[in-house]
């Protein structure tokens, strides 16, 4: 019972309830259109990217930093993949692997720059954001590169029992990441660095290594996001990734991941991304103004942050009382 009570109180649980309620409400007011195979398929297809970029931001937040370059890294990696296949005629797997490695390398570079310069990740990734946008533009110019083999696009069209392949990729990634954070020694060190860098240092944890690895992991996740992008879209141009930044923060923050570090919520980030996706659907459904969406997401982010801050303070008060009783 106590266990159940604890579960119900979590942000993850609230998000799950919110998602189900929202989905049912939307489905019923739409006369069941949302339950059609086509709707579900497109809903899940366009959920893959928000999940992956949310997770990419989350792993950097875990060490108490930010990655402003998520969109530029994903966009540049996708551009690398497209041009390798089109301009260099590389085999598909070579191009995808190269793009994935390029993104991972960009993440590693962010991490390295943060560690070596001692500057905050905000400044470093602001710099790499601009550089990589330039790289992306240099690769694709103002064209849309879509001359790569159909096999790539075909992969994005595969469905298993109405579940699109790209969504499966995102979910498998999330499951592996969740497992990593629950069981892996590196993940524990990353969280230790985020939770209290001083204590981590004095306990023999290398903070620079944690920061480096978190940024590298973020890059790898964006590499996967780039693969999903190239397989699910018709072509790659310079606008790819341009709108990733807000949602990359929105999902983990709504899920209760702290800006100060030390906390991750993989399932919560997936659910938060799903809720945001619902808001998008609602817009299409009711032909709402796009500004309404931005307004809604912005408001949700702010109120979640306010709510979690309030919760934190309340638990702090409780903690104090608890200690008093404890010491008697």
């Amino acid at each position: 019972m106590k266990y159940l009570k604890k579960r119900v109180r979590t942000t993850e649980f609230s998000l799950t309830v919110l998602f189900i309620a929202g989905f049912i409400a939307l489905a019923s007011t739409s006369g069941g259109v949302l339950f059609s195979d086509q709707s579900i398929r497109s809903f899940l297809t366009y959920l893959a990217i928000p999940i992956l970029i949310g997770l990419a931001q989350m792993v950097v937040l875990a060490v108490g930093q930010l990655n402003l370059a998520v969109g530029a890294m994903g966009g540049a990696a996708a551009a690398v993949m497209a041009q390798m296949m089109v301009a260099l005629n590389s085999p598909i797997w070579v191009a995808l692997l190269a793009g994935f490695l390029a993104a991972t390398l960009m993440g590693a570079l962010n991490g390295l720059l943060v560690v070596v310069t001692g500057l905050n990740g905000f400044i470093i990734t602001l710099g790499t954001l601009t550089i990589l946008e330039g790289v992306q533009y240099a690769l694709v110019r103002s064209f849309t590169i879509d001359g790569y083999p159909d096999a790539v696009k075909d992969f994005g069209k595969i469905v298993f029992f109405n579940v699109p392949s790209v969504f499966v990729v995102a979910i498998i990634t999330a499951v592996i990441l969740s497992w990593f954070f629950r069981t892996h020694v590196v993940a524990r060190k990353i969280l230790a660095t985020g939770a209290n860098p001083l204590a981590a240092r004095l306990s023999g944890v290398s903070n620079p290594l944690s920061v480096f690895l978190a940024h590298t992991l973020s890059g790898a996740l964006l590499g996967i996001a780039a693969i999903v992008t190239i397989t699910s879209l018709g072509g790659i141009n310079r606008s790819i990734g341009g709108d990733w930044l807000l949602s990359s923060f929105a999902a983990p923050i709504i899920a209760g991941v702290l800006m100060s570090g030390g906390v991750v919520a993989v399932y919560g980030t997936v659910m938060a991304a799903s809720v945001i996706r619902l808001v998008d659907i609602a817009r299409a459904q009711y032909s709402l103004d796009p500004s309404v969406i931005n307004f809604t997401i912005g408001t949700v982010v702010l109120s979640t942050v306010a709510l979690s801050e309030w919760r934190r303070r309340r638990s702090e008060v409780k903690r104090q009382k608890h200690v008093e009783v404890d010491s008697e």
């Binding site: 629950r182 069981t183 892996h184 020694v185 590196v186 524990r188 060190k189 969280l191 230790a192 939770a195 209290n196 001083l198 204590a199 981590a200 240092r201 004095l202 306990s203 023999g204 944890v205 290398s206 030390g262 906390v263 903690r319 104090q320 009382k321 608890h322 200690v323 008093e324 404890d326 010491s327």
Partner: protein, 506 residues
Amino acid sequence: MSEILKVAELSKSFPGVKALSKVNLSLRGGEVQALLGENGAGKSTLIKILTGVYQTEEGQVLLDGEPVSFDSPLAATKSGIGVVHQERNLIPYFTVAENIVLQNQPQRRGLIDAAQRRETAQKALDSLGLAIDPDEIVQNLSVAQMQLVEIAKALATETRVLLLDEPTASISGSEAKKLFEVVATLKAQGTAILFVSHKLEEVFEVCDTVTVLRDGESVIESSPLADYSHPQIVAAMVGRQLAERTKRFRTVEPGEPVLELKELTTQVGHTDVSLALQAGEVLGLYGLVGAGRSELLRSVLGLHPIVSGEVFVKGKATTIRDMRDALHKHRIGYVTENRKEEGLFLDFSINRNIAVTVWRRLQEILGIIRHEKETEVAERFVERLGIRISSVMQLAGNLSGGNQQKVSLAKWLAADTEIIIIDEPTVGIDVRTKANFHELIMDLADEGMAVLLISSDLPEMVAIADRIMVMRDYKFVGEFPNSKDYAEMSTKVMDAIHSGSPRQNA
């Protein structure tokens, strides 16, 4: 002059600790009173109440005979109580004048009156006889000048009571002289001054009266300083109530040192410092706060640079680069004095807090750590140290101070360390847990661990150390085998502190 500030029977509690207990203090205009006490004695709590950071719980604060209660620092400032904190509270990019009038910007028709600002600032500086340009950016001043600007800032708001919290902690001797001149000027103008310091020499130089706090109680209450000698003041500060408790005698077989420092010179200020610690021994490093003990060990652990000299671990000359090296290569543990800031992950469960040092050992194939293994390790040490908790999944932040300290010790025991450095283990911990902790430390030494104990609590030192080395101004000034006889040891230690080389006024 008449009494301006009076503190009557003031008490204040925090979870698990009684910070102040019926404290009395009386301060007159034109009087400089020293407020003394060891770390954790309650000085900062008292200052925070007087400046409106904390609220009064029991007892009264009276200003000109009227009971007052400040609900914010601003309220205290408005009532004429000014404070110069230990930490700098100036805005570095603002000018001196802008900083001085910060709390009370002169305005004209809603805009800042720059001419008036400059004038007010100049007046405040002049009254202290300070030749500092009001238009200078604060960032360009020396630490001592900033200190003086802070005093000027406190005075710009009609301050009648000035609290100086360790004003000379980070300035040189000649700069301190200038500060004392300013204090003398203020005294002549009738300001009441409460002077907090750990440096007894300067206290005797500038103060008229003294209040000493010990464990939250005022053991000397605003008495003339001339009635006391140095040793009497120190004795009042450290107390001896714990001394007559348990006496446990241990013998340490002479052997090879496991940790040896040879003529170590550090960047933080030690010159040619040597010591040797052997297995099964509790070596105590005693000194007043700021003597340089923690800094020495933190240098050895690679947290501050070593300039010259050698460190030997188990007979081998070595360089310890960081805590990772210390832990994994040399099996050295370090229980820090700031358990909340540096010792624990308050938002992590107890088992992770304990297992953090052994993650490397617990990992299986591909770096996987099984939760059950962490729990197993944690539970073993929770039981061994008698940590009182409901489950190892509880968050460390929810524990009482004593239990938190045990958790931060447990992680080093879990790591099978052979040398453990324990820094001020019982600050802010109740008496019962304290005694328990003392037993624990001696048990560890009995099992063959080498313990280096840093403590400013002399009764604690006498109760557990086998040998006591006394540090003062970053130098060892005495070394004594511990007879565990408090009277004898305290005399020896205090003599060493007082006869030690005179202060170097850089």
